[in-house]
Amino acid sequence: MIIQDINYAFRLLSKKPAFTVLTTLVMAVGIGVSVYMFSFFNTILYKDLPFEDGASLVVINASVNGTHDNEKLSLHDFNEIKNNVNGLSEFSSYYNTDVIVSSKDGARRFPAIISEPNMFALTRVKPLLGRSYNQAESNAGAEKVVVIGYDIWQNQFAGNDNVIDKLMRLNGENYRVIGVMPEDYFFPNIAQLWLPNTENVAQISRKDANSVHGLAHIVDGNSIADIDGQLNLVMQRIKQQYPETNNGLSAYAVSIPGSGASDGQPVIYTMHIVAILILILASINVGNLLLSRAVERSKETAIRVALGAPRSRLISQMLWESIIICSLGGIIGLLVMAWGLEVTETIVATFFTDPPAFWWKFGLDSYTITLFFIIVFSTIIVTGLLPAWKNSGGDFNAVLRDGTRGALSKKSGRVNKMLVISEIFISMTVLIAAAVMVFASYTQSRADIGAETKNILNASVVLPNSKYPSEQEQVQFVKTLTSLIENSTGIGEVIIASALPGNFSYETSFAIDGFEYTEQSALSYPVMNYVAVMPGSLDKLGVELKQGRYFNSGDDGLDKKSVIVTESFAIKYFNETSAIGKRVRTVSSDNNIDWLTIVGVVETTLHGERETQNFPSVYRPFTQAPRNKLTIAMKMTASQALATKTLRKTMASIDAELPSFKIETYQQSVERITAPITFISNLTALFALAAVVLAASGIYGVMSNTINQRTHEIGIKRALGADEQLITKEFLLAGLKLLLWGGIPGLLAGGFMGFGMSQMFGTDHSVLIIIATLMTILVGSVVLLATYLPTQRALIVEPSQALHYQ
């Protein structure tokens, strides 16, 4: 019997190949898109870490004024949390750093972790060789030891089994290798070296300690919300005690992959909603196509029922059609999606200079496969039950009595209206949300960072404290480097800064002379990008001078105190008057109250992500306040290869143990920052396009079907004297009604999501209104066109013929 039904379904499908291909492709798009989206975000945000108990492992971060931005906690705050939060167990802590490893082949930089000894135990992973560090090795003044990653073991020690107890030069000092971690262990993120944290709450003061990320396992039975509640309580109490440092601070727990989302939640929610809506759209469309075929066959069905066919057989036959279409479409979608995930892996790799987080392995994992089966199953239910319900629920007697009209067509009329309304709702929602996102990413990638990026090669250098402990030495290094490189062939001007416009910069709180700061907390002061530049650099980068002067050799000297601010700063704080001659100072815990005098105002420069409200920038001569992290930007007069070679040679000649890394063009480094949002927005745009094509064809399909079914009615009305204009008007009004029913909720839902994103990207609200208007017009035209064209087609025939139409 089942075989018979399957055969029958296949025969029906092969009789109409175009229909079958169309529905299968629609299903492929719907299933492929939604499975891809879920799989993508699961991989980067929700996957359990591949360790035993990985699901209960969380990182504990500070939240500043309510934002979840992966900020570190002070060591002392974390200690309080450790002693007072009982929903968590096995506390540990770490912070990220860079380490320079020097060997015979030269010096290289590696991402490293400074942690408490029990961090390894939290991940339930034992070293492949040797052991991890212990409490004794975490005491200040203990012998320096290091646990290395598998890759370093392979590359620096050629996988030698006798690596244990060998010495290694890190940041210019000797460290003893005590352990090697297994392959693919990069915990918590991308680390390749692990060092003990020698700071201890008991021996170090609150203000001198390095901040840390906490780690812990959630005790069974506690939710993240419970934990956050407990964390909040503890942090509130600390705040009472230390208002100066802790005003506005709290803490939150998040899974390690989940921490990647930080404040990007609106985008992630939107993408998921878009994915689900596309799936619903595809199901509705296929369901409706099957339904209209069922309508075509309703007379046949009625005859079969009259002849005694049980209803279950009829439903079974219709279900088989859905099963075949959804499975076939699903498999095509899955194949394309698997390819898409592979491509994604290569694209995502370009977002980072370091390798991406170790759990970012895109592909058909068990989650994806499970999800795939769930989705295919639900599409079968939706697409199969729609026509089955509609066709077997009707009054068969009525169908036999007067053809396809009567009770059945009234019900299908209602179903059709619901279909069109939901398609309008979905396309409106998706379009508005996607358009806001595309607009935001476009403006971000087009944002004027304030500097010329053409033909410039960048490289980063970190001066280790052990070798360059004093400011004089740091300034001397920079001066030597500049003059050596500037005089090499292939390189023109050289710019040295702690951070270039467009890239992330150190941010800190500033106080401005003449302004009142009431709250006794560092957080109540305005935050600025604080950038150190060699005199002359701003000019060379094309950062235009607006007022006052650039830095010059007269600013050189560690005792001098001059700054240049951006126009955004000047406008924000000294709108009426000139900023020149005004004074600012950094706000730090050691109560340094050196006032710095503003000598110039330059055009506004952007640092870091473009989506957050950009901070104004304060520039300080490098020769007054040097930093140990610096970026060298070289104007290339010949090839990039030559410039790279020159840089390496020059660096080696100054300090053989000092690597330069992140060598790439300025353009690349700037684009990297907007690359993820561009990628996500391209993805959204692609999916929105798919949604719109699905929705538009769906709306057209349903409308033309509906109008087709009403050809006879049109004939009657014309016989009674309705002219073409009147009929057209009547249908357009009906279309307009559907547009309102679906469009207004869609406008609200899309506006809501769009609002969330425009908040996050800092897009103007007027843009949201313009986008909503444009999308309303777009969807409106689709609906009206989908009404107008079939109506005109129905009006071409003479009324006498329309009256014969069944």
């Binding site: 016989a719 009674l720 004297g721 002219d723 009147l726 003479e798 009324p799 006498s800």
Partner: protein, 237 residues
């Protein structure tokens, strides 16, 4: 002759489908006077319905001239044709053709809503009168699916006469009814005729044809006989 309502002159209708030409009507010339009750009969496929469609301006002839109450309507615009259908012509179909989403009252009112010269109150009044004429006023709020075939056809008649048209065109109005209901509808048409309505009816049923005062027979698209019935001759005599 001011009494002439319809004058067909050499009407031809050819259907072109897939390179096949169907000569549905050839050289039809016909005059119908005001107040006449004409029946049209003939074998299936001879062109009766086609002729009625042309008379009702539901279709255009391939050639020939059609004058409806002194106006030449052979080649007027679609909009004008719709307007004339609405004001001058009342249709009654074999399959009733009521609109299932509208109740009885709304069905009858529908053609009146296409006119711009009537107020709502006037329309309601006309609907009420028409429904009373066909004895369906008590069912005004019912939907077609809640009525028997005979009742539906009576509503259709009410719809046809509500706007006081110059002529009622009926295509086998009793074709879907049992004999009792058929008799009722025929009686209704007869009483309308008695009140002065002009009726042109296609029918297969000789008993129905008998009620008309003029019988036209069509064969292969041509009028083969056109005569007044004996009953009427007797009355006329």
């Amino acid at each position: 002759m001011t009494n002439t309502l319809i004058k067909l002159d050499n009407i031809k209708k050819i259907f072109f489908t897939d390179e096949v030409e169907t000569h549905a009507l050839s050289n039809i010339s016909l005059t119908i006077n005001k107040g006449e009750y004409v029946s049209i009969s003939g074998p299936s496929g001879c062109g009766k319905s086609t002729l009625l469609s042309l008379l009702g301006l539901l279709d255009t002839s391939t050639s020939g001239q059609y004058i409806l109450s002194t106006h030449d309507v052979s080649s007027i615009s679609k909009k004008q044709r719709a307007h004339i259908r609405n004001k001058e012509i009342g249709f009654i179909f074999q399959s009733f053709n009521l609109i299932s989403d509208l109740d009885v009252e709304e069905n009858v009112e529908l053609p009146l809503t296409y006119r711009h010269d009537l107020t709502k109150v006037q329309r309601k009044e006309m609907v009420k009168n028409a429904l009373e004429k066909v004895n369906m006023a008590h069912r005004a709020k019912h939907f077609p699916s809640q009525l028997s075939g005979g009742q539906q056809q009576r509503v259709a008649v009410a719809r046809a006469i509500a706007g006081d048209p110059s002529i009622i065109l009926a295509d086998e109005p009793t074709g879907n009814l049992d004999s009792e209901n058929a008799q009722a509808v025929m009686a209704l048409l007869a009483s309308l005729h008695a009140e002065g309505a002009t009726i042109c009816m296609v029918t297969h049923d000789p008993r129905s044809a008998e009620r008309a005062d003029r019988n036209i027979d069509i064969l292969d698209g041509q009028i083969v006989s056109d005569k007044s019935t004996s009953k009427n001759s007797v009355e006329a005599a």
